[in-house]
Symmetry: C2
Subunit: 222 residues, 2 copies
DNA sequence: ACCACCTTGCCACTGAGTGGCGATTGCTTT
DNA sequence: AAAGCAATCGCCACTCAGTGGCAAGGTGGT
């Protein structure tokens, strides 16, 4: 599933698939570079395809939309997250939310090939200033959450009508997005370990967010 | 702000604006009807504009996209929510999350003109089966959350670097979306009071979602 | 070496969204 | 009440994302 991570294991993919893979990576790399240098909207798909020397028809066989190529590193991580949730041993002692936290942390650490962190940084900043990309990103996250909910039901025997597992997933997504925001604001070179740190910090802030009260300054009360 | 709600107060809008308003409502009504009868994608804007007898140019002066006209009832409620958050008296005894809950409940009750509940039901179900609409909906919700965060900072004197208020807003959005889902599945005629009930139920499930544990059925552990 | 098939490239097409400009409509001032 | 003003509307032409069809080329198996 995680198209960029699992290269070492497996009986070596066929040549045809490796070619496809190289095209995909070239498209993502070039797209992120062009979209970052100029604007997302001002770069046409024709131009991107010219650079990579690929027809527009081929582009749409690899990605479903212009937005998707920009969010590929982000999507790859969510796919790895589903894999983790599916395969990770169950520990009945940990709460669902803790299990989810373990799975995201594990997922981001499987992405440690090449400069995934740099690409994720590019697409995070891109999403922050491009409505179309942000919308696509949130939609994809929603789809992933529904897939994860299925896994939770299957592996942890939960009531399908219970709102709590779904809320836990929504809270996970929210915390991770806050972590991405914090991480993308760091001035240093992006690393997976910093992202892990920021993710833990965001999770740690969750309980307090339910009980937090305001301080009601000199502002009039109505 | 809430384009559909505040009709009674105000010194009667100018005729020109009322005409504009009627065009807007005709577009929303017809769009929801057509999108529900057939598919969102199979209804072209040209067709919609023909029905309402409005040029496509005018459509785009009223709505920013094809998706927006379908989500107008939903967006109107969020705009009313911002208004409530802005004007509601502050009660230092209640937590931020409780304040937010009060504001959504109040917002949906201001929408009690005409059959807003029916329109909201249509667009909720539409969003559930149309990726483009769901994406737009989530993006709009994100923009609203950022606007609400500004209000919280201004009125409740919170630290701009504190993650907790933002997380509280994300959790609010998640709970409300769960409530919408539950509400849209009800077989009866949609009412605002049922939506309020489902919203309270979703909020009540939040604390439990942080501590919930699985039951680890006969499923193997790895 | 040959065949079957997957993949690619090209072409033409639909439909969303934008900008310009002249015409119309509602508001205002004298 | 008439004229002047500004906002709005409708029409036209255009760009660009995304899709389907079909022929040509490369790939894997025999």
């Amino acid at each position: 599933m995680a198209t960029d991570s699992v290269s070492p294991p497996g009986p070596r993919p066929t040549l045809r698939e490796r070619k496809k893979q190289r095209t995909r990576e070239a498209l993502v790399d070039t797209a992120l570079r062009l979209f970052t240098q100029r604007d997302f909207d001002s770069v046409t798909l024709d131009e991107l395809c010219d650079r990579v020397e690929v027809s527009k028809r081929t582009f749409f066989r690899t990605f479903a939309s212009k937005e998707e190529v920009a969010m590929a590193p982000y999507e790859d991580m969510w796919k790895a997250f589903i894999d983790e949730l599916e395969t990770r041993p169950v520990d009945a002692k940990r709460s669902i939310l803790q299990v989810l936290q373990d799975a995201v942390l594990a997922a981001m650490r499987t992405m440690n090939t090449g400069d995934w962190a740099h690409r994720l940084l590019s697409c995070t900043r891109l999403a922050g200033r491009t409505p179309a990309i942000e919308a696509h990103c949130l939609y994809f996250c929603g789809v992933t959450v529904r897939a994860a909910l299925d896994v939770l039901h299957r592996r942890f025997g939960l009531d399908p009508h219970d709102l709590r597992p779904r809320l836990a997933l929504d809270i996970l997504a929210a915390a991770f997005h806050r972590a991405l925001e914090t991480w993308a604001d760091r001035p240093q070179d992006p690393t997976v370990e910093h992202l892990a740190t920021d993710t833990l910090a965001a999770f740690a802030a969750i309980p307090g967010s339910l009980t937090l009260t305001g301080v009601a300054p000199a502002d009039q009360g109505g």
